[in-house]
């Protein structure tokens, strides 16, 4: 910011029109606006809290309530002025950074994957529904309202032609002739006790009908199949809430909670679906012990380090070289060169990554066409060349950054030092190695570390260029150019081998530990923390 800090703003303060306009809002008007805004926030939050409570999420309701009370206190009490300024950003920090951190850790200790996404009570419900099998008895159906306006089912047994009315309590036989069935199999009635539901109202009842059960003998129940027919269903599994087991009603086989989110029989048969549940350290230790997880993880970790280091090394080396080449006062076209060289930095990265993926393409790619014969390569489809391409393109994108940084840093090196070294008879190489580079590093070292940490998690550069491919020899989810973060992404969101949120969270905790260690060492070495005033 040399150009803004060097010439200090004039000490005599003359507000611009804009400033005065804005400032007007912080007087009495401002106080009124603040109260209105606060009232709106309160109203919105209280509505949200009622929603949360009615949706059985009382804990989150309480947390939200606590947050809004805290906000009210901060803004209505006269003191705590810093809190008034810090609070708005902090809300988002808590909601979308701190809570996610907590969730990540919590998920890492759960079995939470394809087949284990429901909560236990949801899973029990789902198992009950899935175990329902038709008994073979079917009915013609007409939804109707009884005298008190409640939804009932008018049913005609398709075989015996017996007429019934079904409610949520049970099935009652009706006197013969109350209902009639026309040629198309549509049930009608002339009875004044029941009012048939037709037309538009019928469509709005879709969901209610699908969930309507008329209990019959034992555990069996009649369930509507659409709006014109119904079938009697009977569960094949019986749930025992006391022992927390399912029993197969025909064979008597008992399925028990195995502690890992499934009901399992003695012979190992599982009932689908399972549920998410805490399983302790299994996901974490899998990264060390399970060869199916450990081997890809180590391979990916190694490549991640090579990639991040390679990208930073080449970017900085080339960027510095360009800076030195251009850093000569009076060099012709210097500004033009510089403007053209920063183009890769000015264009949003994702666009150029997608473009490079096209340019390096085997069949259509221009790179292979331009290269002299014999130099064409399967740039993106061979494990080795794909790695080279990823580092190359990342370097292409990052060189301008380090060129700009190096130019700035070179200018800050006092010319006398270089001169003095030359007078003492140092060669150009010696001057560079013993004087320029060490001084440059003071400024650039933190940026190199930051760039390393950034590339360590540079999802875009991998995913948009090779999508982590080509497939590696071990046939794991991780392709040969996948870095840890894209490996995590695939574990969690790419359906190929099922999604595993638990393992993905465990891996991301490892990624965090690795990055934190690197950054920690870096901060310690550069002593950046000393500057905290």
């Amino acid at each position: 910011m040399s150009d803004t800090t060097a010439d200090h703003p004039p000490l005599e303060y003359r507000p611009s029109k804009l400033a005065r306009g804005i400032a007007a809002f912080s007087g009495t008007t401002g106080r009124a606006l603040k109260l209105v805004a606060l009232a709106l926030v309160n109203a919105l939050t209280l509505w949200a809290v009622t929603q949360l409570f009615s949706d059985d999420r009382a804990l989150w309701g309480l947390i939200t309530l606590g947050a809004v009370v805290a906000l009210d206190l901060i803004y209505l009490l006269p003191g705590a002025i810093p809190a008034k300024f810090i609070a708005p950003g902090t809300i988002f920090l808590i909601a979308y950074l701190l809570i996610p951190i907590f969730f990540t850790v919590s998920t890492a200790f759960q079995i939470y994957s394809t087949g284990h996404v429901l909560s236990k009570s949801e899973a029990i419900k789902a198992i009950k529904v899935q175990s329902l099998q038709p008994t073979g008895v079917s009915y013609l159906l007409a939804p109707a309202r009884d005298a008190s306006g409640d939804l009932v089912l008018l049913l005609v047994n398709e075989d015996t032609k017996t007429e019934y009315v079904g409610t949520r309590k049970g099935l009652t036989e009706l006197p013969k002739g109350t209902l009639s069935v026309d040629d198309q199999g549509v049930v009608t009635t002339a009875s004044p006790d029941y009012k048939l539901i037709t037309g538009a109202e019928l469509f709005t009842l879709d969901r209610e009908l699908a969930a309507y059960l008329v209990p019959t003998e034992g555990d069996a129940a009649i369930q509507p199949q659409g709006t014109a027919s119904a079938a009697e269903l009977k569960p094949t599994l019986a749930y025992d809430p006391v022992a927390d087991t399912f029993q197969n009603i025909d064979s008597g086989v008992v399925f028990r909670d195995n502690g890992k989110g499934s009901y399992v029989a003695a012979d190992g048969t599982e009932i689908e679906p399972g549920w998410r549940t805490y399983i302790g350290w299994d996901n974490i230790t899998a990264v060390f012990r399970d060869p199916l997880v450990r081997d890809p993880f180590l391979r990916v970790l190694l490549w991640t380090i090579v990639f991040a280091f390679g990208a930073v090394f080449f970017s900085f080396a080339i960027g510095l070289f360009l800076a030195i080449a251009l850093e000569k006062p009076g060099l012709r076209f210097r500004r033009l060169y510089r403007s053209l060289l920063v183009i890769p930095y000015a264009i949003p990265g994702f666009l150029m990554l997608l473009v490079w993926a096209g340019l390096l393409n085997d069949d259509f790619g221009v790179v292979n066409k331009l290269l002299p014969g014999g130099l064409d390569r399967p740039w993106l489809f061979d494990p080795f060349w794909a790695k080279v391409s990823v580092i190359m393109v990342t370097t292409w994108l990052t060189v301008p950054y380090f060129m700009l940084v190096s130019m700035g840093a070179l200018q800050s090196i006092p010319g006398e030092l270089v001169e003095a070294a030359k007078v003492d008879g140092a060669s150009r190489l010696q001057v560079f190695r013993k004087v320029t580079l060490p001084l440059l590093m003071i400024v650039v070292a933190p940026l190199l570390i930051a760039s390393f940490a950034f590339n360590f998690n540079n999802f875009n550069n991998i995913y948009l260029l090779t999508a982590g491919g080509p497939a590696a020899e071990d046939q794991s989810v991780a392709g040969s150019t996948d870095i840890l973060i894209s490996y995590t992404y695939k574990l969690a969101f790419q359906a190929g081998k099922g999604q595993d949120y638990g393992l993905a969270s465990a891996v991301s905790i490892f990624v965090f530990l690795i990055v934190a260690t690197i950054s920690g060492i870096a901060f310690w070495r550069t002593k950046a923390l000393e500057g905290v005033r």
Binding site: P9, L340, V532
Partner: protein, 309 residues
């Protein structure tokens, strides 16, 4: 090379004395600088030039396009905006607007929320201030990318109660991005605010200004350069963001540009290169304009940010 080196060394003192030799003669010493620069320029502009040429080239396939278009056409742009019905997975105008909307919204609130916090850290002395700053530095080590699974699950479940904050809603995506506001932005802005003389606040306070009046009326207008830089980086960062958006937005019409273009071109370089290049060209415009406009702030901002941590 040795002779060259010697002449080079001789040339340096003359420059230092302020008598630059006429550039015609100096071209001899500088030939390698020009050579390096020209090669580097060719490598760095080649993809961009190729995209521009493909966008206006009548031949749609990537391999068929030559650097200089044989025939000029706007068909690629037309096709991008009115795709034939069989490419129903495409809605470029919508993606573009989504991206601009999300990036602008996020950049604006990033600047606002960040500046508010930075003002408190810069101008007030309160308990926990140092801890707060260190905490923000620490939190910087947890990029949201690492919490992809958690963010997905949180947005999924929030959406079960409040659909507008759930999956496939841009609002949810923007709020998630705002979770990453506090951190390096606050540090950067605090550093700049510290350099604004506190005498200005004092005199405003003597005149009866409240802290919020000082913030809006004194600090913010003077801090325009740093606000611009933070806003630009936030805009470009969000504009580029792929992973979180790809997890939260699943429907065609809610996609942002990175998602849309990636799916559009995915392994279809043969048929779609032309319209794709047109799309890249248009998508590059906002960020390049912003970059050009704010360039002088950026260059100094890069090194300044580094020294300040």
């Amino acid at each position: 090379m040795t002779t060259l080196d010697q002449t080079e060394e001789l040339a340096v003192p003359r420059v230092a004395e302020g008598h630059p030799a006429p550039s015609r003669r100096r071209l001899g010493d500088n030939w390698w600088r020009h050579l390096v620069a020209i090669i580097a320029v060719l490598v760095s502009v080649f993809p961009a030039v190729y995209v521009v040429s493909s966008a206006f080239n009548a031949d749609q396939s990537i391999g068929g396009a030559s650097i200089i278009p044989r025939s000029f056409t706007l068909d690629n742009f037309k096709q991008l905006f009115n795709p034939p019905s069989d490419k129903s997975e495409t809605n470029y105008p919508r993606w573009f607007l989504n991206s601009i909307f999300v990036a602008t919204f996020t950049a604006f609130f990033t600047v606002m929320l960040g500046a508010l916090a930075a003002y408190a850290f810069s101008r007030f002395r309160f308990k926990g201030r140092r801890m707060g700053m260190l905490f923000l530095l620490l939190i910087q080590m947890f990029p949201q990318l690492l919490m992809l699974v958690a963010l997905y699950l949180i947005v999924l479940r929030t959406g079960e109660v409040f659909p507008a904050l759930g999956l496939n809603h841009l609002l949810a995506l923007m709020l998630v991005y705002l979770g990453g506001v506090m951190g390096v932005n606050v540090w950067l802005m605090k550093g700049f605010f510290d350099s604004i003389p506190s005498e200005l606040d004092e005199s405003a306070r003597v005149d009866g200004a409240t802290p919020s009046q000082i913030f809006w009326g004194v600090i913010l207008p003077l801090a325009a350069p740093v606000l611009a830089v933070v806003g630009l980086f936030s805009f470009v960062g969000v504009f580029n963001e792929f992973a979180i958006a790809s997890v939260l937005l699943e429907v065609k019409d809610q996609r942002t540009l990175p998602l849309g273009l990636q799916i559009f071109i995915d392994q279809q370089y043969g048929e779609r290169w032309g319209p794709f290049a047109a799309g890249v060209l248009i998508a590059a415009i906002p960020a390049v304009l912003l970059f050009a406009y704010l360039q002088k702030f950026i260059v100094s901002g890069l090194t300044r940010g580094s020294v300040k941590g």
